[in-house]
């Protein structure tokens, strides 16, 4: 137990880093993912193909490999990012965006066809149909899957520890020389750090879901 108190500053710093990394990556992934979802349902076939290719490629690549490219591949092309934090952030954004895209697209497909048809009957062009009628409803129905993507993102951010970002999981590797008894406490402390983010997220999602549900 005392090992936790001794290393509390380190743990808190790791926790903060995990939170910052996850939140920033989430914002980026939501933006990129929404754009990709828009591409995937757009009237232009090449744009649909582009969205599809991106999603299929990224979904089938391990996140560790994406991290690798950001951290070690880009410097080979003289496109190095300012620090490992940025490599980790970019890797998480690019990877998570594919899953955000898929979640939103499934939401778009779940909106009853009558909604889009009614909007079209009112003379709305594609941009308005999507932006003002379909997407607002789609986002509400996909709050649970998006919540799962967020939770997975928080857990995935742990891979940054292997790329010189001192977030929560890095605390465990840094203190790996501790005794077995101390390691149990450190492991539990790190796990608790993740639970503090993921468990309330789960509760918040189910509350939001009920409040924002579209009655049909």
């Amino acid at each position: 137990m005392s090992v936790l108190i001794d290393n509390l500053p380190l743990l808190l710093r790791g926790f903060w880093m995990t939170l910052v990394l996850s939140v920033l990556a989430w914002i980026g992934a939501m933006v990129l993912g929404t754009v990709l979802a828009g591409l995937r349902v757009s009237p232009s076939a090449p744009l649909r193909g582009l969205g599809y290719t991106y999603v299929e490629l990224v979904r089938n690549t391990p996140l560790t490999v994406v991290f690798f490219f950001m951290a070690f591949g880009l410097p080979q092309l003289d496109l190095a990012l300012p620090s490992f934090f940025w490599s980790a952030l970019l890797a998480l954004v690019l990877y998570t965006a594919a899953f955000v895209c898929e979640a939103i697209r499934s939401g778009i497909n779940a909106v009853p066809p009558g909604q889009a048809e009614a909007a079209r009957a009112l003379g709305m062009p594609f941009g308005q149909v999507l932006g003002q009628v379909v997407l607002p409803q789609a986002i509400r129905t996909v709050i649970p899957p998006l919540g799962n993507v967020w939770i997975a993102l928080v857990k995935n951010s742990s891979i940054a520890s292997a790329f010189a970002v001192t977030e929560l999981t890095a605390v465990l590797s840094r203190l790996s020389n501790a005794t077995a008894g101390a390691l149990v406490w450190i492991g539990l402390g790190v796990a608790l750090g993740y639970l503090v983010i993921t468990l309330p997220s789960g509760w918040a999602v189910s509350r939001f879901e009920r409040r924002l549900a579209v009655l049909r």
Partner: protein, 297 residues
Amino acid sequence: MSSLLYDIPGPKARARNRMLTAVGALVVAGLVALAVWRLAVNDQLDPDRWAVLFDARTEVPQALLRALGRTLQVAVIGMVLATVLGALLAIGRLSDRRWISRPVTVVVEFFRAVPLLLLILFSFIFIPAIGTPISPFAALLLGLVLYNMSVLAEIFRSGILSVDRGQWEAGYALGLRKSQLMATVLLPQAVRRMLPVLIAQLVVLLKDTSLGYIVTYSELLRTARGLVEFFGNTYSFQFYVAAAVIYIVVNLLISSIARLVERRTRKDGKARAAGPIGLPDETTPVVVPGGGPDRGL
């Protein structure tokens, strides 16, 4: 479905679509050009650099193939163990006895809510600390099994619960005990419906084996890194690309098998009569603190 979002394009809309397509194509072409230019400037497109990947004399193709073998080995063993344990945990969680279902729930929820890398690292660091040596393979396998058995347990549980109520009632009416009902009626139907999700989970597991890199298990990624160290930085880009391509090809293969199985089960009259598949996916989203079995994430 997407065609509902826009009218059949008239002359104006066609012109606008063409313009949008052109803009999109320009952006993509710009990105590709940037990539090619950076690659060319750094001599990465030099055929000699890529030839090393296919030259058997350099032992590179062999090394990559062996690495793929090790990746598949840990993935397959992990999948089998996780499936068996996951089914047991699912049954345990559905048990009527509180002293079974409560602890099982805690175990499942805990391991799902914790990053897989933390489980792998902890196994790798903690088990030697209590005096038992552990190989990187075993640490990776242990982490993968602990995590995936919990994810699969939830998949199985939702599968069992999605079996039509009438099946349960019919089973009880025939005088089956709960264990008999589970084993002979519910699990077979659940597994059948869950097969596409199970195969999709294999893709996730296969991708996650790349975490073995961090605990020095020489799977694909670690091998690529090792090759880079051996051959020098000249080839680093090529080796990473090769590793990525192998992952993508294998995963696309497994994904297409999953789709095939999904189509098969959907065509199957019995499965259709039993109602829509209760997959924990886009149509019936279930939010769970652990993050849920989101396909592929």
